[in-house]
Amino acid sequence: MEAPQYVVARVQQALAEDGRTHELGIRVDIRGDQLFLRGQVSGAEQRERLGQVAHETAPELHVHNEIKVVDAGAPGEDEHLD
């Protein structure tokens, strides 16, 4: 069986290089036959695409898509640089 570290690297590379996703900052963890995706993206569709690409890259694992969709809020307080 392939060492989980190599599978993690392969999934991470796929998320970064696959034309559907190109997402660099996603954390991938494998425990047994479970694969966990964590991180933040700006839209629900991108989250689904990431789950799909991870699934295709490691079809033997059960993917838990724990990626959070964050909506950029309204601008906050100004910073004064004096």
Binding site: L24, G25, Q40, E45, A72, P75, G76, D78, L81
Partner: protein, 253 residues
């Protein structure tokens, strides 16, 4: 009196599926800032379609908009086409050069470009060995030199550097240290410290931290949208006390 208010963000990574959403968050920006700066990674894959979405989101704002591209915007080898789309929409796109913007009675000089990697003093790549490594480092060196020249040439009341890659490692805190050499280069900071500037804005490090400073004491802000957690931040250069109280009243109201 307010001297100069700069709204800034990086890494908005727009695509067709979120068309119109970012524009809605820019509502009222002209009341909050004198100029809007974008620190690269405006698209996800650097396609022309995404570039057009970005151009449409930024089109017709009533304050000047200045942008640089990021590595994502280069991915499809369409960086010049994307820059042209943005320029058509009225955005000033910097590519290792500078521009002077009139903001009220003040002149704001902005110098910048994508920047590049290489790492930080003591733990960085050097121009030695294989051609590939030498090309990598000399690309950053070339950029740093261009910024230094542009900064020295510009005549303005304030000077801001706009980059995608980070000039310092403080604002990378939160990113794994192993990838720092791909996130920026100290050569960028060295060039700006030599020529002088009031503020450096960058993006790229989505998991980094907002605030840092160059060895020469120039303030650095990582404005990557995931770092800010909001549509943009506003930085005021030389704001006087009167503005502080005025601003807090406005926010309370």
């Amino acid at each position: 009196m307010i001297d100069l208010r700069i709204a800034a963000v990086g890494d908005i990574h727009l695509g067709e599926d979120v068309r119109g959403q970012y524009r809605r968050k820019l509502e009222g920006i002209e009341d909050r800032a004198d100029v809007f700066m974008l620190a690269g990674d405006l698209t996800r894959h650097g396609t022309l379609e995404e570039g057009r979405v970005v151009a449409d989101e930024l089109r017709g704002l009533s304050i000047p908009v200045v942008a640089v591209l990021g590595n994502h915007d280069y991915h499809s080898d369409l960086q010049y086409e994307i820059a042209a789309e943005l320029r058509d929409a009225g955005v000033i796109v910097l590519d290792d050069d500078g521009v002077v913007i009139q903001c009220g009675d003040k002149k704001l000089g902005v110098v910048g470009g994508k920047g590049f990697g290489g790492g930080y003093a003591g733990k960085c790549a050097s121009e030695f060995g294989e051609r590939e490594i030498k090309n990598f480092v000399s690309h950053t060196r070339y950029i740093a030199e261009a910024w230094k020249v542009a900064l020295k040439e510009i005549v303005a009341d304030h000077r801001v550097v706009l980059s995608h890659y980070s000039p310092i490692k403080e604002t990378l805190e939160g990113e794994p240290p192993e990838i720092y050499p791909f996130l920026g280069s100290y050569l960028l900071a060295e060039a700006v410290d030599t020529a002088g500037a009031d503020l450096i804005l960058h993006g790229h490090a989505h998991k980094g931290s907002e605030k840092g400073m160059t060895p020469g004491g120039i303030r650095v802000r990582n404005v990557a949208l995931p770092v800010l957690g909001r549509a943009y931040s506003v930085y005021c250069l030389n704001c006087e006390d009167e503005f502080h109280s005025h601003d807090s009243q406005r926010q309370a109201g």
